[in-house]
Subunit: 193 residues, 2 copies
Amino acid sequence: MTELLTQNILNHITLSKKELESFCSLFNQKEVRKKHFLMQEGEICKFEGFVTKGLFRVYHIDSNGFEQVLYFAQENWWITDIDSFTNETPSQLYIQALEDSEVLLISKKDKEFAYNNIPKIEKLFRVMTQKTHIALQRRIIDNLSKTADRRYIDFIEKYPNLFQRLTNLQIAAYLGISHEFLSKIRRKIASKK
Amino acid sequence: MTELLTQNILNHITLSKKELESFCSLFNQKEVRKKHFLMQEGEICKFEGFVTKGLFRVYHIDSNGFEQVLYFAQENWWITDIDSFTNETPSQLYIQALEDSEVLLISKKDKEFAYNNIPKIEKLFRVMTQKTHIALQRRIIDNLSKTADRRYIDFIEKYPNLFQRLTNLQIAAYLGISHEFLSKIRRKIASKK
DNA sequence: TTCATTTATTGAACTTGTTCAATGTTTTGA
DNA sequence: TCAAAACATTGAACAAGTTCAATAAATGAA
C-alpha cells in the first residue's frame, strides 16, 4: 500500500528501513470518488497527501467565477495547499478528484512529529519543496513569455499522460485561456499537419 | 555587517548565538556596482546571496529577445538561481544590480557544511523555500486571473517601496506587458483620479 | 437503451495587449 | 555642464484572446 510512497521518498533521500517504516506508518489511506473534494475553499488544510491512484486538480475560483488550475496531481504526486497548511489560514483552493482516487494523508501533527524525530525528513521536504519551487519558476517565465499555442504544445509534450486523462476544459484552465480559444488552437494545429 | 542577516534568520527559526555566529561566518561580502552582474546566463550558480544594500533584478531573456523579470531583491531579500544552484546546470537567468549594491554570499560547499553541522539550518531553508513557494503560487494565480491594470495596481500596493525605486520598463517586464502598454495603463489610472 | 448533462466546436463582434515609429523628458557620465 | 543615452508617452494599425450564442458530439446515470 505504501510501496509507491517509499519509492518516491528514496528517490529524494536515503532512509534506513526502520526510518522509512516509522515515517510511512504516519500516513492514512483515503478514497476519494470522482468529482468529490479532498478540500474546499475556506477550510484550513489539515493534511499533506501523496496520490497512489487516480487524479486530482488543485484550483482557485476568482472573483468573476473563473477557475484557474494551479496543478494536477496524479499517481506519485504530492498534494496540499502549502499556504493554508503552513500558516493555518483558510484555503483559497479546491482540491477535487477527477477520477476515483486514493491518497495517503499525513496530518500536520504527525508531520511535525516526523520533523522532530526523523531528522532526514526535514531534508526530504526541503528537497521536495525546492523541486516544486524550480517548476513554479519555470511556469511563471513560460506564462510571461510564451503564447497560448506554445504553452499548449509544451503541455502536451511535458505531460502526455495527463493530456490523455484531462478534458480540454481542464487544460484550458491550467493554461489560463478560455476553452473556446483552446478549441481554435487545436483546429489550427490539426490543420497544419 | 551581518546584523540584517541575523535578524532575518531569527525571523524564521530560533538559533543559539553560537550557531548563529558559526553560520554567519560562512558568508562573504561582495559589492556589485549598478548595472553590473552577479551572474549571467550560461554560468553555473555557485552561491546563495542575502542582499544587505541596494537592489537586484533576476530576469530571463526569451528566444525573441524579450526580458521577463522573475523577481526583484532589495535589502533583506535572498537571491539565487535555485535551479542552477541545486542541479549545477547552466543558468537561464541574469542577476543584475539596479543600484550600487552589497550582498553576503555563501558557497554551495559552505551551505552543505551548514546543513550537515548545524541541523537547524536544514529547517531554515525548508521554511524559507516554503514561503517563496507560497508567493510563487499566488503569482501564478494572479497572472492567470487578473488583467494587467489590476496586476499593476496590486504591485504598487504590495511593493510601494520597490515601485519608487524601479523604472516603468522594469515593472512592465515583471508584469509581463510591454512598457508602452504600461504607459497607457498609467494614463488611464491618472485620468480616473 | 435513452435522455439529460457535460464537453467540444464554430463564427462574429468585441476587448486587451502589441508593435512600430515618432516625440518629449530625464538621467548620467565625461 | 552638456551631449548622449536611457526612459516615458502617444497614436495608429495590428494580433491575441474573450465573450456570447448556437450547435454538435460524447458521456453517464437510471
